[in-house]
Amino acid sequence: MSILTYIAGWPLLAALALVLVPGNYRVPIRAIAVLGTLLSAVLAVKMFCQFVPGANGYQFEQQVTWVESLGISYHVGVDGLNVGLILMGAIVAFAAALCSFEIQSREKEFYILLLVMSGGILGAFASLDLFFFYFLHELALVPTFIMIGIWGRGEQKNYATFQITLYLSAGALIALIGLIALYVQSGANTFDIPKLIEHVKANPLSLSAQNLIFPLLLFGFGILVSLWPFHSWAPLGYGVAPSPTAMLHAGVLKKFGLYGLIRVALPMLPDAAQHWAQFLAWLCVGNILYIGWVAMRQKDLNLLIGNSSVAHMGFIFLGIASLNLIGVSGAVLIMIAHGFLAALTFALSGYIYQQTGTLRISELGGLCRKLPFIGTALLMAAMAGCGLPGFANFVGEATVFFGAWKVFPAITVMALWGALVIGGIYMTRAVRNVLHGPLPEKWNSLTDAKHVWRKLPYALLLASLLVFGFWPRLLTDKINPAAEIVVSGYKLQVAGAPLPAAKPVSQSLLMSAATK
């Protein structure tokens, strides 16, 4: 069996094991959940290290026929596109399990749902079969609704649950129709993604078929990723969700739609993708500028983080819309970086909420004094969120801008404003209002994350952001060859004259010194 099966399998097995444990055994329940996700995270790290960058085809493959007559098989494998995502997903799942100490009631059910969610989404990322790709994501998606509906907080809980269920189910089903239509129109009689891509490369779909399927996938997946203007479920849903759920959903599940676009839509529907790219790029502006602006006006920390997470999706979409190697690689980089970042920020806001019982920014202030560890982590997360070099987000956003500049210069300029100015404003303002300033007296009794287990999830996520921020080649070496295959069908749309190669800086300095 492939290591990927174990990565997705351990959390699911742990969920099954939890079914058998009586509900009042709190410590064993927590231990099983943490152990299940830990095993999967360790295996994911191992898999990431063993991955050979640039090797042909997929690695760690496993294929078992499931329904012969429809051409469905359980087929997992990784290439550069999903190897980082699986690593990120497994680490975030482990962190989310560790952060679940905030759940006080019905813990058994909560952990079961959390484990199903983790196992499902890891399986979906590993899957190379369209059916299982969808099937496992749906398996992961439904627990989200239940968790928000039951363990959610605040007065708007029911409304938020209702909205998120409606939006995400509709999005997933629209994408399902797109996937079925792709299967039917291709005529390949297989759900196997590599085989489908091969088949479609040999016999391309007609333009009308592509133009029918691509929007279904774009909007179906787009709704799942909170593409503007279908984003309104996200900030509210995350604001209400218990923090482990928000961590997993905003960090990992949401990337499914983007991954689907890159894995399925771009290679199989090249003509329609070119046709819709411009349109998608303009929608990104909605995500980046409009939602950024909305985020500036938020009075609740979780809503601010939720909106900023929606805004970040815009960069990824922009990278995808640029349809070139640099843009798509950058999109994958941000997907991974934002996964860590979103999980980190929701975990931190969850901690603050658990301590203070409120996330209204006006009621907070000076928290850094009582919560030095959490405060510092939040500060670093905020800096990562507005794209400070050194964090993985910077690498991804910069790459996307380089990729998009060639195709959509005007939109890139606007996006830069969104990233640097608007992002900077709301993030630094939140930091000032939450962490600095006078400490209200009522918060004198707050306690920081004390022992190692409490600190571990935050430290782990921060470390991941920094590792990939300082050493992005760990990812780019893996992503580039795979992204190259994805965009190989696209002609360079702006074939400008190649710029003359600049001389190395040191040399030109020497020359200028010599002339003096």
Partner: protein
Amino acid sequence: MNASLISLEMSVVGLGLVLMLADLFVPTERRRFIGYAAIAALSFLLFASLSGNGSCSLAGTAFNGEFINDGLSLFFKRFFLVAAILVLFIAAEFADRIVAAAEYYSLILFALAGMLFAASSNDFAMLFVSIELITITFYVLVSFQRSKLASLEAGVKYLILGALSSAFMIFGIALIWGTSGELNFNKLAAVLAKTPELETSKIFLLGVLLVLVGLGFKIAAFPFQIWAPDVYQGAPTPTTAFLAVGSKAAGFALLLRVLFTAVPGVTAHWGNLLIVISGITILYGNLCALPQHNLKRLLGYSSISHAGYLLLGVAALNASGQSAILYYLAGYLFTVLAAFLVIALVLRHLDTEEISGLAGLNQRSPLLAATMTISMVSLAGIPPLAGFFGKFLLLKSAVEAAQTTGNHGYYCLVFTALAGVVISLYYYFGVIKVMYWSREAKDLSAIELSAPAMVTAWICIAGIFWIGLFPNTLLTLANAAAGALKL
């Protein structure tokens, strides 16, 4: 003629008669065992028909081609046997509430015999007789709790509307016979192939339409769905369960035969009609289910919406649609019977059948709460359960139809179905919410389950997971069965 072809039907009728007689000799306190004996006998018949070499699974025709045993009828016969066995389990739990329990069991068996004949009907006369056998038995089954006003009311409603639809159907059959001179499906198809002008004859088409009205009543499709919620609510729970599964499936078995064997030429032109009916049925069922408080009424509306999903497979007019219907029905069997089993066990001691009666079920009986949850999740069509794969197949067949015919109506229908699925999440999850997280629970005493009830619950759960996780076997069977149809 090979009389052993009908050995299965004869055995079931004989069994029903034996049960009625047994009632005279078995003491009252042992009445439950009559039910278990019937279950054992039906299990034996099911085994015989599954083994594939007994006379129960012979292929061929009898009675001048009126009766046919082919892949499709065998699939449905096994389906009905499984349904009847599970319904008898539910009835055994319910039996202490009704007088004359043995009669109740034997009526279930007579209805089963009607369904078995329906599965083998290859002639309009046979179709009408089997439908009447089912319907008349159900008139009695619905109003069996004579002391309950709601049960009687439901029985009267079912009787009036059922008689009306039978009248439509017999009128339609008369028109078909009058214009074509044939009642046999195969011969009628041959006549239609020879005289294409018949396909445009208004009288003939009216005849076919009226037959569809009668069948639409059986499957509770719009606009003949009015009776379903009232009857589902008023009837004794095992009756409702059998009505939801057996009667509906019999309707679909006949619908498939009539549309795709007898009048395939006409059907090919009726794609749009079927699309519209399917779409409206889906929306009507789902929207009306939203405000319901009564659990059985909710399931009544939900069964209307599922008839709509199934019609989607009919409207697709292709082989994958037909096999998707068979697959979906098989999943629906276990799913719905699981729900009714829980209703029968939990609500039998309550006066109401409100959803709130399930409050606190998680603490009262974790097994029943899990059964109901799995059933609701499967009805909503969420992986990895039976309902998801069934809906997936149905949607796939509609998308295929859209591609081959170029009719954009299919895409509209697919999106209507999606809307229906999204709406249905609300009320299915409402039921789950009440069981696990309602604070209204007053009575938290544990529910004691008899061993057969537990077995039934586990069978249903296993069936739902099996159909959802290992579709290969059943799909192969369904494909083979659908191969028996002409179009």
